[in-house]
Symmetry: C2
Subunit: 153 residues, 2 copies
């Protein structure tokens, strides 16, 4: 279930959290980005109660983050498969930013368990601020401005 | 209160969420990044119950995301001020990624209310994947690999 109050906020962070901010949702998305598509895969890898998982997946489908499509394996009853939409795929960036932060500030005893690299030449990849030329900008060079759409009351 | 089960996970996303994933925490951080430092500022801008806010702030202090320091205004009783640590400041990237996603996929009727620009020459700033040279890499050029630290069981 999404959070209606947050979804009406003029703040995009709040609206994103209205869809994504419930417990387990980011981990459902992590599994989807890793290739899980079936209810049983999500359930087993996260150890989630089926009713909670059903609710989380439904919210993601309702808000265009995932699609739900029936499939049928020979000899089995029809089931649903869940795939990320392009909007869902874009959440890779959010999850990678969370992962990067955890790697630095809540390190695992054996070091990072996942790393990102460029497909073409295997160089390390991070998440960062970039300018309109696609060049990294340090955080202390980034300013935040209110636009004309910012509520005045 | 942090989530102990998540904090023990080998997955950095899960550990980050163990500290940051509770309802309201990202919005408390948004307020802190916008300059709020006092309990009453967080409470009033978020409309949060004081006991919930106290718990969220304490978790952030316990895990090194914020500091709690007493201050005293003339004629008032001592109060606590909350400031982001450098680790907390790094969450700007996570919040900006959430905001960017909300701007694109859950747009506000009047358009984005906040924008980011470079301090020196006022050019637009986004969050993106970058390589080791600080050059933007498209998401479909990013691969994710398990390291030797990835649990085998």
């Amino acid at each position: 279930m999404a959070t209606p109050k947050l979804l009406e906020s003029p703040c995009s962070i709040a609206r994103s959290l209205g869809v994504l901010g419930e417990r387990w949702t980011f981990l459902v998305l992590r599994e989807a980005l890793t290739g899980s598509t079936r209810f049983a895969q999500f359930r087993d890898s996260l150890g989630l109660a089926p009713d909670v998982l059903t609710t989380r997946l439904s919210t993601l489908v309702d808000y265009g983050v995932m699609t739900r499509e029936p499939y049928r394996e020979p000899g089995s009853r029809p089931r649903d498969a869940y795939h990320l939409t392009p909007a869902g795929r874009e959440l890779h960036l959010v999850l990678a930013a969370l992962q990067q932060w955890g790697d630095h500030h809540l390190p695992y005893k054996d070091g990072p368990t996942i790393e990102r690299r460029t497909r073409t030449d295997n160089r390390p990849v991070r998440v960062a601020f970039v300018d309109d030329q696609g060049t990294e900008i340090p955080e202390n060079e980034v300013k935040t401005l209110r636009t004309a759409a910012y509520p005045t009351t």
